[in-house]
């Protein structure tokens, strides 16, 4: 591995602003993990632009000693798209919540993904509107009682991975707020991917939606309920690494290695680079208790990014263009001289 250019520590990415999230909020751990990831990534500090919308999660940029933009509610994706398209040299991170990205920001979300702009979207999914004190969001579980659904919601929530794939996504990963070590790897892979990298972080809002992910995230049962996918490796999980996934027609099925003659070789090997989104959709949709929930990088496919394509097209046109400046343009085509 090449020598690193920068010797950052996570502290280099801490701003002087007081962190104002509730004690115990999952956002603290995500902040740590991203600061760690950035210290490990070899990118100059001044080349990061961290852009958010509005929400508890969206206060994130204030705590980072980088360029930061705390935007308006739902528009982080559009602002970030503009920043990255203007200057593709920047490493642009969009920090957003389930309300910010998927309710008011839904349109920018699907379009930035469709365009495959080279952004890292970190979506803090606490399944609630935190900042406005506890209304349901587009990811709140059906039937859940919140301040605006006193008798339970009657809305099907989005599945974030499914929506991203629906929007032609090239990168989807999932992680957990408090899983700092695993998260650091995921964030680094998100940055490495050229295109829109979407990371869903299961985040706990201790105040308004405590333990909404606890069934899945609890460390005690993680081995049974989580499967951490790695490209090129078999999809194995379980307390004793003895469970695996296999194909059963068009569906995925859990099997036990050692039972019914199943060996490790029968287990599906994760191919995050497969272009066809079908299997990635099936993986990202797996849900507890029938199946383990998938974590890590589920999809990562190569495609030209929008920002690079824009620059390439300009370069191509300019290579043969006759008009080099405004004087050329003004005097091009039909003109005439008045000489009284």
């Amino acid at each position: 591995m090449a020598e690193k250019k920068y010797n950052y520590t996570p502290k280099d990415f801490k701003s002087d602003q007081e962190v104002r999230w509730c004690p115990g909020c999952g956002d603290h751990a995500i902040l740590n993990a991203i600061q760690k990831a950035m210290a490990e990534l070899d990118i100059a500090k001044e080349d990061y632009a961290i852009i958010s919308g509005i929400g508890c999660s969206s206060r994130f940029p204030y705590y980072m000693e980088t360029y930061g933009f705390h935007g308006i509610h739902g528009r982080a994706g559009a602002i970030a798209s503009g920043t990255k398209t203007a200057n593709p040299k920047l490493s642009v991170w969009q920090i957003t919540g389930d309300g910010d990205a998927l309710a008011i920001g839904g349109n920018h979300f699907i379009h930035e993904i469709r365009r495959n702009i080279d952004l890292n979207i970190i979506l803090f999914n606490n399944e609630i509107y935190g900042l406005t004190k506890g209304q349901y969001s587009p990811t709140t579980k059906y039937g859940h009682k919140t301040k605006t659904s006193p008798f339970g919601t009657v809305e099907t929530p989005f599945k974030i991975g499914q929506l991203a794939i629906g929007a032609m996504g090239t990168f989807f990963a999932r992680t957990i707020d408090g899983y700092v070590k695993e998260s650091v790897e995921v964030y680094k892979e998100a940055e490495a991917h050229r295109g829109t990298s979407l990371v869903e972080v299961l985040e706990n809002c201790v105040i308004y939606n405590d333990d909404t992910h606890a069934d899945i995230t609890a460390k005690a049962t993680r081995k049974q309920r989580q499967i951490w996918l790695k490209n090129g490796e078999p999809m194995i999980f379980g307390e004793n690494d003895d469970k695996g996934l296999v194909l059963n027609g068009f569906k995925l099925k859990v099997v036990t290695i050692g039972e019914n003659g199943i060996t490790k070789d029968d287990i599906l090997v994760h191919d995050s680079h497969e272009e066809d989104p079908i299997l990635h959709l099936a993986l990202s949709n797996m849900k507890y208790p029938e199946m383990p929930v998938a974590f890590g990088v589920i999809r990562e496919t190569k495609k030209m990014t929008y920002d690079a394509a824009v620059e390439a097209q300009i370069a191509e046109v300019q290579a043969t263009a006759k008009i080099k400046n405004m004087n050329d343009l003004l005097t091009s085509g039909e003109t005439w001289t008045v000489n009284n």
Binding site: Y48, A86, I314, L330, V338
Partner: protein
Amino acid sequence: MDKKSRIEKEDVVIRFAGDSGDGMQLTGTLFSDTSALFGNDVATFPDYPAEIRAPKGTVGGVSGFQVHISHNKVHTPGDYADVLIAMNPAALKANEIWVKPGGTIIADIDTFIEKNLKKAGYKTLDPFTEDHLESFNVIKAPISSLTQETLKPTGLDNKTILRSKNMFALGIVFNIYSRPLDYAHNFFATKFAKKPQIVEANDMVIKAGFNYAENTHALPSYRVEPAKIENGLYRNINGNKATAWGLIAAAEKANLPLFCGSYPITPATEILQYLSDRKDLGVKTFQAEDEIAGICTAIGASFAGHLAVTTTSGPGLALKTEAAGLAVITELPLVIVNVQRGGPSTGLPTKTEQADLMQALYARNGESPMPVIAASTPGNCFDYAFEAARIAIEHMTPVILLTDGFLANGTSPMLIKNMDTLPVITPKIAKEGKEYLPYKRSDDGLMTREWGVPGTPGLEHRIGGLEKMAVTGNVSYVPSNHQLMTDERQAKVEQVVAKVPDLQIEGNPDGGDLLVVGWGSTYGHLLDTVTEMRDEDVNVSLAHFNYINPLPKNVADVFSKFKKIVVCEINSGQFVNYLKINHQNFEYNQYNKVQGLPFTVAELKEEFTNILEDK
């Protein structure tokens, strides 16, 4: 050409009208470009239906294009036409009221058959008698059949043949105004380089029309002498292209890359299109998913250090106002171009109006001041787009530039300035190596903060929509700081006045009986009216505004010189209300019109006369 005597005319207005499918816009454009190249001053006004192709043969489907040519300076496309070309009965029906008394009507008589007359809403088979057009010089030309006749030898199919009947009409008008045929020929030769047959057919038809006119003694013949305008190099340009180019010019003079985030909307779409064409000049256009993304991508690009622009029309501006407030509080440069159209709501999307002034000034939550300027001719859209960008960059603020459908689609010759003669624009970019305080204000009196561009080491900082502590830019809920920042944002916009030129009086600078006040695209009509009235010794002058917020410094001074003031607008009285706020101590008359149409000189004259006579 010398068979007939030529009438020397100062001024001619020609209106081409036909079905949407009849190619009237092209015909009109070819005529106006030929005239401009010939040295006339020119103004045009396309008037087309909202539907892409409205039902053939109906009044709703008529597409018109009016050209005003003169050897003097032209300020408007003209109120009424000297010559109307009506390609079918519907075109006649829709446009007969726009012909000057005694004017010429050239009708393609082949189309005046029962079916078409009925579709156009005529009740008899003789529309000329039915609508009392006897006082007009009506020329019934068999344009369709002569076109067919002309092209019969080519073996082209009938549909293709009939598609070129507009060129027959063009040929007729070329003859009347003694225009050369080469510009039109070159146009087709370039456009159909690979289809010589089509080029030849068009040539044949234009010539046939030209000859038909030559041979028909019924036709008057005019020659409009080249206009006496300022020496220099000229090009014909519409307001949208001028706007686009003014922005590119500003980026060049500011040495900044240009970024436009926009969503198509009539009549602003073309600005985005003209900018998309300019990859050669490195312009980045981002066709966003909606207007909000249009302005937000622009804000993101501004954050990244670009000259950022978003272009739209009324309903689109309504969608951008929340984000516009973000640009205000983050104090980032941004140009918002609003090409006004008829409202409210979708309203009359292809018609012109000036009814977004209040929206531009006040449509943001909270105390959210923003400079507003307005162009007044198609050509000076270039200058005011440039100026909007200059203000945005030098004063670190979003700026709204108002144009409208009338300017956007109309054309006028533009004197081409060499780029060296335009002022340099100096962005206030923070430098590496010095301590950077994002909300520290400049001490040049302009109260601007410095632009800290991502990618610059050592300037890392955070901005956003929450209230900022003065100097540091940290989030602040301190009450007195909110007052301070509110006042400073207001004061910063007021400082723009430093470079705003004084309001000019056209007419008598010492004052007089009546001061006509206008803003934006009504300039031409107001000027013509005032000029005509002054020629008749009426003591009336014009003060026309391009700078709305802040207003020029000398407004009270100018207003106080006149006995009466009348504020004229294509809305229900928005600027006059704004003047009452800012210059409460004057009495204002007002003249307003909300019909999706520009003023006419005639109505203005009548109105001003009434005011002077205290009617």
